[in-house]
């Protein structure tokens, strides 16, 4: 049997997630791993939007903020179980993405970048200013998901770090699997076609605006779920999750790894999540290095690190 690139990506991901803990010198690394998975999930959404549909969002952190604060607020105010709050946050993000995207995606050009930028900053402003509801910039506690307790009763006793490592890992595998299936579906092919040439796609009868809108909504849901997972594992969240810099980080991760590929997205998320951990020693240089990395990758590895390397390996292939 010949393996498709899709199964190679998924298989590699499963093996990496399952086997990496063998090399962890301490429990702290589970936490870093879980953070990488959460970021990779959000970035997978960016791949769908930017890599396949060719649209830029500079406000995706806003959706992560909605997902995160849904988990913080819904259990307290409406007595909703945190797991349902994740779904609620995703639903709100999807509706908002649809409302913002519908008029904007009829226009050609970089307008979604601008609109999402405005939307993201408004969301983060509300989270910062509505102190009575969100407790403002100091952040707010988030309820316990409770799944670890259930697993313990069932006889599977994991430390907090281990639980979140494997839980986020499984969600990431699911997310990558869905994205890769979407890529090969009729919608995915249509998306990539319109990225190639919007006019050509329109000529063969594709509803370009609707396709782009679908990609935007789907990617918003990815970001929202990632935000929820972040809030639930930290049991605490601040409005920074919705900040402009977080949106920029997401796009940078995607572009660094290779915005056209899910494997690249995960690689980019891993590198940029690890970078600040390594750079804590030189915390002062963090912004300098991040900015330089962004510029250099865009100039010298336009397709991103992973596709550029793959191309080198395959020679002239593709």
């Amino acid at each position: 049997m010949r393996l498709t690139p899709k199964s190679v990506t998924l298989l590699a991901l499963v093996v990496l997630i399952a086997l990496s803990p063998i090399f962890f010198p301490s429990g702290f690394y589970y936490r870093i791993g879980a953070l990488i998975f959460v970021n990779a999930l959000a970035v997978t959404g960016i791949v769908i939007l930017t890599g396949w549909a060719g649209q830029i969002s500079l406000g995706h952190a806003g959706f992560a903020g909605i997902g995160a604060y849904a988990c913080a607020l819904a259990p307290v105010h409406w007595g909703i179980h945190p797991a349902l709050a994740v779904v609620l946050g995703a639903a709100i993000s999807a509706v908002l993405a649809w409302l913002v995207g519908r008029p904007i995606l009829r226009l050609k050009g970089y307008y979604l970048a601008v609109a999402s930028l405005g939307m993201g900053i408004l969301i983060s402003m509300v989270l910062n200013n509505e102190r009575e509801l969100t407790r403002g910039p100091d952040g707010i506690d988030v309820a316990e998901l409770g799944l670890r307790g259930v697993l313990k009763d069932a006889g599977l006793d994991l430390s907090n770090g281990q639980f979140w490592y494997f839980f986020c890992g499984i969600v990431l595998i699911l997310g990558a699997w869905l994205a890769l299936n979407l890529r090969d579906s009729a919608t995915g092919r249509a998306l990539r076609a319109l990225h190639g040439s919007e006019v050509a796609a329109k000529t063969v009868g594709m509803d370009v605006a609707r396709l782009k809108l679908q990609a935007f909504v789907i990617s918003a849901v990815y970001a929202s779920v990632a935000g929820s997972l972040l809030a639930l594992q930290n049991k605490f969240i601040t409005p920074d999750v919705a900040g402009f810099m977080h949106s920029v980080e997401m796009v940078t991760m995607a572009v660094l790894g290779g915005v056209g590929s899910v494997a690249g997205a995960i690689f980019g998320a891993a590198v940029l999540t690890l970078l600040p951990q390594v750079l804590t020693v030189f915390a002062e240089y963090e912004q300098l290095v991040l900015g330089a990395v962004m510029v250099l990758v865009m100039i010298f590895l336009r397709e991103g690190v992973v596709p550029s390397i793959l191309r080198k390996i395959r020679g002239r292939g593709e």
Binding site: I56, L58, L107, G109, L122, M125, V255, Q287, L288, L290
Partner: protein, 290 residues
Amino acid sequence: MSELLQFLLSGVTVGAVYALVALGFTIIYNASDVVNFAQGEFVMLGGMITVFTYAAGAPLPLAALVAIVATAALGVAMNKLAIEPARGAPVVSLVIITIGVSIFIRGAAQLVFDKQIHSFPAFSGDDPLRILGATILPQSLWVIGGALAVFVGLWLFFTRTLLGRAVLATSNNRLAAQLVGINTPFVMTLSFALSAGIGALAGVLVTPITMTSYDVGLAFALKGFAAAMLGGMGNPKGALVGGFLLGVLEGLTAGYLSSQYKDAAAFIVILGVLFFLPQGLFGRKSTDRV
């Protein structure tokens, strides 16, 4: 009445700064189709370099001049090192490059300067002038005058000089401009120098009022961008009007609605413009040839 006038006056002052930033956006956008998110960092550099040169003992006008020239040189360097090598890259890449440059400059500024808030004395003292019961700082007049002077200067440059017309020609059609012998790479360099210099001037003028620190750039970039969108991207008249309009709107929001949400005005304007008049107030409808 005097209350309304007061809000309007403070709105016009910040609006003048947004107009200057928006003009900077417009110049680079016209020359290269790049939306330069590092525009706000030029404003920051204008203020910060003046602060430190002045503190080192230079007289204020000289310090301001140093800041403007140094920032313009940095704009040229940005074009040569980050934009030109990426020519032909898709818009996503160019947007990320300019964001990368802005983060880089911010990172460098906190190392070279510091993380403190700084200011220097106003040009013409701090005694407020009274107009119909409202007050205005003399420095505000400098800011407003600066914005208008830059606009008139640019207008003369683009309509009355050969070089300015070469820039206009390049923005209309790069290839055709090249064919008639215009040195388009030089036009790009000039645009970045001009745009960075204007950004720095905005920083010099506004710092005595709002103070400055290494991280003020992002807010200026976003507001200036909103103003440019409001006026119609690529249109200098639109940038000027958009800037003042946005400033006034912000002043009124702060005065009558909520000072916490005064920054929201800019972003609600962005969304409103995109929903209802995507070409901006003065933009022309663009069509694409296939």
